[in-house]
């Protein structure tokens, strides 16, 4: 006789991912049995300017600077256990399923957003992040990156950011119509109000490939 299999995890997506209570009880018992030796062995000092990084039941967790001890049997310090709060050389860092992205001034961040988060949004659209620190769940964002706005042409995911200064021209083909569009500095937008002479354009169009128009940025005087 065939019977239908029982499904015990019908609502697993709505459950929280918590630590092991048996590991916590076992850790306290082991600490008591060892007269505190286990507790002392798991103790670590996190220095100022750093986060403590440990793994608890498969979850990557952070702690603030200070003295911390991992009592639970399912907790262990990650390698390295100390990570810098602001790593200037690495703006995108992954801690398990969480991505910590730092967007400094004069930078722009972007990622593909998975799922439809609003009525106007689309699944898989590319979104731009402003300056600051962002904690992005891996299940919601992919291909996270940060670009510095210094070059004349900056690539950020599917976006091309053209930085057209005074006296220069830019251009690109429009993908839908195939027409070539020239950008001048007359209708530029401004990055910051303090730098009115610096302007840039952002477009999804394919860059110019025609030999005569291949130079995206050239002097207007020529």
């Amino acid at each position: 006789m065939l019977t239908a299999p029982l499904v015990f995890c019908s609502s697993s997506s709505s459950r929280s991912f918590q630590g092991s209570c048996f590991g916590t009880v076992g850790g306290f018992a082991l600490s008591a049995a060892s007269l505190g030796c286990y507790y002392t062995a798991q103790r670590r000092v996190i220095h100022p300017g750093h986060f403590g990084h440990y793994i608890s039941s498969g979850r990557h967790m952070l702690v603030l600077p200070g003295i911390h001890s991992l009592v639970s049997l399912t907790d262990r310090w990650a390698e390295p256990a100390e990570v810098a709060m602001d790593d200037e050389s690495n703006h995108v860092r992954a801690f398990g399923s969480k991505t910590v992205m730092i967007v400094p001034e004069n930078h722009v961040g972007g990622a593909f957003r998975i799922g439809k988060h609003s009525d106007e949004g689309e699944d898989g659209e590319f979104v731009v992040f402003g300056p600051g620190r962002h904690v992005l769940p891996e299940e919601n964002y992919r291909h996270t990156q940060v670009a510095k706005l210094t070059e004349g042409r900056v690539r950020l995911g599917p976006l091309h950011i053209l930085y057209i200064k005074e006296g220069f021209l830019g251009g690109a083909f429009r993908r839908n119509t195939g027409t070539y569009e020239v950008f001048s500095e007359s209708n530029h937008s401004i990055i910051h109000a303090s730098t009115p002479n610096h302007a840039q354009r952002i477009c999804r169009s394919r860059p110019a490939a025609h030999p005569a128009r291949e130079a995206l940025v050239r002097r207007a005087a020529h």
Partner: protein, 89 residues
């Protein structure tokens, strides 16, 4: 006195006298000679600071395209960052 010691004495004396003459000539220069840049040029190099601060969101010309901004996961403090990373609910 050997010829070599005499030569060194004469050479050192000449160098010392030359250095003293140069220092005396430099001290006679008027103080205005130190300001070689005219005042109108100095005024031309003065930069007026803008009223707005160079912080905040960048403004792009998006060529009639919708560039979605997502700052819903931005954290302001270290404690908020730790809470966001440790949030597995």
């Amino acid at each position: 006195m050997s010829p070599f010691i005499y030569f060194c004495f004469i050479t050192g004396k000449t160098v010392a006298m030359s250095a003293a003459a140069v220092m005396a000539e430099a001290s006679d220069l008027p103080h205005e000679a130190e300001h070689t840049v005219p005042h109108h040029l100095v005024a031309a190099f003065s930069v007026t600071a803008p009223e707005e601060r160079a912080v905040g969101e960048d403004v792009f010309n998006t060529l009639d395209l919708t560039i979605v901004r997502d700052n819903s996961n931005r954290v302001d403090t270290n404690a908020a960052l730790v809470n966001a990373v440790n949030d597995y609910e």
